[in-house]
Amino acid sequence: MTSTDPALREPAPGRATSAVRRAVGENTLLRSLVLVIVVGVALLLLSDVVTTYRDLQLSYGAYYFCALAGLTMLAGTSGQISLGHGALMAVGAYTVAKLRNTGWPLVPELAAAVVVTLIVGIPMGAAASRLRGPYLAGATLALAVGLPALADKFPSFFGGENGLSVNPSTPPASLGANFPLERWEAWIACAGALIVLFALYNLMHSGLGRSMRAVRDDEIAAGLAGLRVGRMQTLAFAISAACAGLGGGVFTLVYQSAAPGSFQLQLSLYLLAGVVIGGLGSLVGAVWGAALLVFLPNWSTDLANSFSLSTNVSHNLPLAIYGVVLIAVMLVWPSGIQGGVRALSRSRSRRLRGAGARSSAQT
């Protein structure tokens, strides 16, 4: 599914390309490194030219991408769905908040968020590997509702309704005294997103990813071929959980707080909507989904404010637009935005080829 993702692939080596390009094209690790460096430099340049508000949006997009990429890997590679990734983000977020308040530095606390969510994800994945379709959806839905309730149950440890607030991570002095905090946070968030991109790109193009896809397509055949079906699914769920955990950790740093209100069921549902609308199973689709989750609420609010309407209508118009967009994308592009883009580029190249054939026939 994702192995033929044209937008993530380096261009196929042509006749005139050097051996270096060919090596990059064939080696997944090299290809992903080039991809990460190119995207990283682009993000670095982007974060330097835009306003601090856009930097903030960039960090929102980056933490959404972490969770969405994990979810899309789970759905596309392992064939499982999860309505509980918002709760897994909460696990990462609270881990970072607790450790930050005890004075841990930046990188270890984010790494701890990944490890803790991975550990939480293993028993959940083991449970999930026994379930399918709506039953898996039901169990993970209950997780999304049940886990944030822990914060209410142990208010002294998790801070109750108000959650835990943390100090922001200040930019290092070497960047200058006037370096904006938002830009530094955007860098941290984008670094997290790039790590997720690198890890998942390699996973999905590795033998392990192939095994997971085999399990997804036919469990019995995969089992006969010697694959541990349950273990594969557990692993996929745990890795996907770890990505969501990193996203949650970044969330805490960007918002400087972790509170149960941020990780309600709506977040899990919007994450699911983001991956399906972006294009299930595609990392580029996760980028589309993240962009949608960041920009759509803003656009619809701006649009609603541009009309002069009664308060009841104008307060609810953004929500209505959001719902209409979800429905419309599914009706117009059943395989998500990335699927729509692929279909468009295919039909255009076919039309170009067709035009070329006609003109050569005329001469």
């Binding site: 449970a127 399918r132 709506p134 039901g138 169990a139 209410d152 609810n316 599914m330 009706l331 059943p334």
Partner: protein, 296 residues
């Protein structure tokens, strides 16, 4: 002991409402293999319509009928207009459409009726029965709730088991191609399934909006928790089985009533999660599903 009795009785009453929502989800799942996340928003709209009719006419029962009829129409329209085009595509697409519909309906509800919660009248007395000097936590209205949900479940059972249309609906749900070959209008059966489900949902909305001990004041977001409980109940019972939905609803209602009565209401979501996970670990397709469980 009276406390236990009280908790049991109120558990049965809330469980009956969960059962109605679970029935709505099960009917849609059987018909079109879609988990309808918009159910909570749909029953919010029908309950608002009922309230408008009650306020205009002064009659509870006219409002009650209006809710059921508007549910019937809403369910059929949603299936025909929104779900039919995405059927046969990737399995998650109808789910996202229902999520979009949920968001849209909540927004529409807020636009028309505002976000201020409103109270909804109950048809019968909300004062508990008195037995030998103590007042039970069970009211004539609770009796009405339990009886009408039982009537709904029995009615559906008769429809599915004993009528030609029910046979056609079952055939369309289980083997659409074969049913179509044998002359069943499969699409029409799907629409009917959604319409019936929306009626069950509308019933649950009218009941829960007035149901003590925790009446849900009517507002656009008021029914989200009911949808989640109904979904958990449906999964508990096995999504394929209407009797399973009723039993799942009652089991969940009782269990959550005991938990909230003895341990406090903050534990309720966690308890729902624990119950669901334990049941699914033992029986991965719910308590009463006909399909074989998957072996790994």
């Amino acid at each position: 002991m009276t406390r236990f009795l009280d908790l049991t009785l109120s558990g049965i009453s809330t469980g009956a409402v969960y059962a109605a929502v679970a029935l709505a989800l099960v009917l849609i799942w059987r018909a079109t293999r879609v988990v309808n996340f918009a159910q909570g928003a749909m029953l919010m709209i029908t309950t608002f319509i009922a309230l408008a009719v009650i306020n205009a006419t002064g009659s509870y029962w006219l409002g009650f009928v209006a809710a059921l009829l508007s549910g019937l129409v809403l369910g059929a329209v949603v299936e025909r207009v929104l779900i039919r085009p995405v059927e046969g595509g990737p399995p998650l697409n109808p789910v996202i459409v229902t999520l979009g519909l949920y968001t849209l309906l909540v927004a529409v509800g807020g636009m028309i009726w505002g976000n201020t919660p409103r109270s909804f009248p109950a048809p019968f007395s909300l004062r508990g029965y008195r037995v030998g000097g103590t007042t039970l936590l069970f009211t004539p209205n609770d009796t009405f709730i339990v009886l009408i949900v039982l009537a709904l479940a029995l009615g559906l059972a008769v429809l599915f088991r004993a009528t030609p249309i029910g046979l056609q609906m079952r055939a369309a749900a289980f083997r659409p191609e074969v049913a179509r070959l044998l002359g069943v209008r499969v699409g029409r059966m799907f629409t009917l399934g959604w319409a019936l489900a929306a009626v069950a949902g509308a019933l649950a909305g009218v009941l829960v909006a007035a149901a003590p001990p925790s009446p849900t004041p009517l507002s656009p977001n008021a029914f989200d928790p009911i949808l989640i409980s109904g979904f958990v109940a449906a999964v508990l019972g096995g999504l394929d089985s209407p009797p399973g939905a009723v039993i799942g609803g009652l089991v969940l209602g009782l269990a959550l009533s005991y938990v909230s009565g003895y341990e406090g209401s903050t534990l309720v979501p966690l308890a729902a999660l624990a119950i669901l996970v334990i049941v699914l670990m033992v029986r991965p397709t719910g308590l009463f599903a006909a399909t074989r469980e998957r072996r790994v």
